[in-house]
Symmetry: D2
Subunit: 285 residues, 4 copies
Amino acid sequence: MEMWFSELHTSNVKISMRIEKQLFSGVSDCQRIDVLVSDEFGKILALDGEILFSEKDEFIYDEMVTHVPMSVHPNVKKVLIIGGGDGGVATALTQYKTIEQIDVVEPDEMFVEVCKEHFPELACGLEDERVNVYIQDALRFLRSKSDEYDLIINDATDPFGYTEGLFTKEFYGNCYKALKEDGIMVYQHGSPFYEEDKEECVKMHRKAYKAFPISRVYQAHIPTCPSGYWLFGFASKKYHPINNFKPAEWKKLGIKTRYYTTNLHKGAFMLPKYVEDMLEEEERD
Amino acid sequence: MEMWFSELHTSNVKISMRIEKQLFSGVSDCQRIDVLVSDEFGKILALDGEILFSEKDEFIYDEMVTHVPMSVHPNVKKVLIIGGGDGGVATALTQYKTIEQIDVVEPDEMFVEVCKEHFPELACGLEDERVNVYIQDALRFLRSKSDEYDLIINDATDPFGYTEGLFTKEFYGNCYKALKEDGIMVYQHGSPFYEEDKEECVKMHRKAYKAFPISRVYQAHIPTCPSGYWLFGFASKKYHPINNFKPAEWKKLGIKTRYYTTNLHKGAFMLPKYVEDMLEEEERD
Amino acid sequence: MEMWFSELHTSNVKISMRIEKQLFSGVSDCQRIDVLVSDEFGKILALDGEILFSEKDEFIYDEMVTHVPMSVHPNVKKVLIIGGGDGGVATALTQYKTIEQIDVVEPDEMFVEVCKEHFPELACGLEDERVNVYIQDALRFLRSKSDEYDLIINDATDPFGYTEGLFTKEFYGNCYKALKEDGIMVYQHGSPFYEEDKEECVKMHRKAYKAFPISRVYQAHIPTCPSGYWLFGFASKKYHPINNFKPAEWKKLGIKTRYYTTNLHKGAFMLPKYVEDMLEEEERD
Amino acid sequence: MEMWFSELHTSNVKISMRIEKQLFSGVSDCQRIDVLVSDEFGKILALDGEILFSEKDEFIYDEMVTHVPMSVHPNVKKVLIIGGGDGGVATALTQYKTIEQIDVVEPDEMFVEVCKEHFPELACGLEDERVNVYIQDALRFLRSKSDEYDLIINDATDPFGYTEGLFTKEFYGNCYKALKEDGIMVYQHGSPFYEEDKEECVKMHRKAYKAFPISRVYQAHIPTCPSGYWLFGFASKKYHPINNFKPAEWKKLGIKTRYYTTNLHKGAFMLPKYVEDMLEEEERD
């Protein structure tokens, strides 16, 4: 059937995928939520008409926000996931037995329920006894937290939608405060290729760069992202993502992956010249 | 205006770009050639309706097939470019003063002329006195060559079109023979993400893996490629792309780039687990 | 959301409509059935990816196959609807109190059920006590019928799908036989505008033209049909669609319409020159 | 090649046609002009990204604005065409030997030139010695005209673009004044099917209905128009389009057509109920 879902990456370029079926469509207090079955990417979850993840490529994202900081920080006990109501990141983290507590702060309850029903293999981690799901606004949640988390993963992606508050200066300050003195924060850095994304990407860097002593950007190739290319921010109070990287220890854990390797960990921080230039320009300002 | 050019990456996923204008359309002996102006990618050149390159992202490709082998092989004097009638690779190579001869073997004369007219900044290198353009079939050209080139860059991309002959076993054997005893060959490895591309990708690896003592795969993020992700093959008689890599010497040359850096050179060989698995499986067979 | 359903009218032209939601998708023994909600056409029903009808324009079709013969034949008591499991035509016919029996022969039970659930205002007529629904193959059903019906409405539309048998010579012969001596048959004649439809259209005419003494073609403008233009066949043993037309009597019935008027009835038989030529050419052969 | 031109009929429905080639693209003082070659409709001319006409279906339009009034008015000597720089209507009119003068008032000179080059079979009539082309604003041109024309054909189509002035009350008043006491005006009435078009359609009717004693609407099926359905206005000081219709005299002229027939002339005024209702509602106000 000629039914296609398109995502406009800019007003002049789009990716389109053939849709086999729609499994769910609903409007929560926060957003419109759709679950579609695509022929190429399997089930996809879209928020307000934008792809959040697809069955076929979400593993790349989840592995990259999880294993990169976990193979650097020597002793993660308590993790905060901002957004992440789909459970993908939480599920990936539950593979680490030394983690004692995982707090997921997600404002959209319907989103959590939809993911539990349609993406059980992602959401299953939310049932782990170490995981607490708070249906709550992340900014408010963070205000009362201080010196508490070893790792914060900001899983919220859309700087223009209802999650916009999560990208303000205040927010970064609150994250810093909520982290312990050797805490790490990983966040969405956006896609650097298209002109209109580039600007957002640079703004993102500015905030983290000023708030944390160590701030590095790393990359992954995620087909459903704009131009297929996505950047992550690694902001840290103490540990350097390469200098404090412990590949041998991570390998001992025997965690199965499909994208991440300890070799790729290093390569992920080796950025194209045009991305380096973009970030350095920002750092000089 | 709502005029869009689409490229089907599989029958179920496509990238589409808004087209402002068509600058050229013609049918050569080999193929249909179109030059379109897109709002997002600038001018694009399409062969038989498939994008060959775009103004906006061709630099990634040209830098990756050129600088990777040139920063490994210590003494490149004579280069053969198979395909490459657009001149992009030749132009990138002319930045190296030590190169004495660049042979471009391109079967499609109209293609060369169209690129000269519409992409002069790419094609200009073809005017360099060290460059010889042979309007000829590459297979035939290669048969008479033996122990002659330091570097062969196979710029031909489409394993299903008229260039199919360039992807046979015989062809790889002839390339091996045409190279000197320390020669390197760089070739298109394809995109590994979509199922239907994966198979081609693996076949490609098999041939080079069997023909050359050193055979490695490296990657780049190229937005107009299927899933935005492209692999290259590095097949070599003597030099290893990492062990024999000479970053300090390359930096001294002062060549300006927008994608390649000596740091990224290393990262480009650090592949995702799913790509590693795919290649290893093939190697075991 | 950028989710669009397209129907290719030829391989080079298509109509696309934005889809809000999918209400149903299933595969019956006969075909794939989808119910989609479009922003412009309301709910649409698609069979094997082709639009059968939409909420917004199905009234045109139903009125034109019903009221045209009903305002010509003076005494319709028994009607056979071939296909028509959606109930639209049956429902329109139930407005005529003098009709005593309406037989609907539809091979696809799931189709009937889906329409009852999602298009109750169309399907409601199937509950009328005069209506009998036979889940059965129309060809087989017809074989045993002779001199029985005043009116046959062939609601089956797709000459290439599972309904193909309904467009054979044998089928037209059986319809003729099943009709009383003053019976009328109305059928889909197709769209005459695009080259590839034209041929089908002409073939259709040939069969009816040879089987019935009176054979005329009439038209309606239906936006979701190819080129927005649709032809119907009026094949009759005795009554002529214009000469035996009884507008005054029909008006007395007080039937509410949105497309049909007694004036439009006449206009519907006044065809463009290119359609006249196409039909005449066929008649001469 | 997957290059498609789309016209959005509303924000939720579009027609798309495969494009083979672009023959011209330019920006005049008035608008952007494109000539595209489509596989299904032949050459198409688009103004600001909207189809004005296509080789395949423009004959319908030209015949319907020309032959309808010409077969009603007994003695047309002097005609004014507003817009119409493509020459299609002028060319159709030159078939009438009794016409002495045809004035074409077209503001866009580039448009005329482009049509002469790419649509010579349409534009050829502009070379007829009875035809005068005024590159001028129609409103201004009309102000000085009084009691001069037997027939005015308003060929300008877009009520939202630069031709908007042609749809004001003042404009209709000026047309009335420019016509002789038995003059006829034919104009674009728009497409009545989609909600957003309907309103425009009704506004159009109001103006002509109030300005002329006789005002009737007629229809044609034009595939590239919104929903494939187009209405024309027939506004007249004296002659009624049906009561004063002279089919026998028109037939004697031996004019060749592909859409218009004297039979279809009558049918064209037999409108669907929903269109009648829409117009009557307006007339009652």
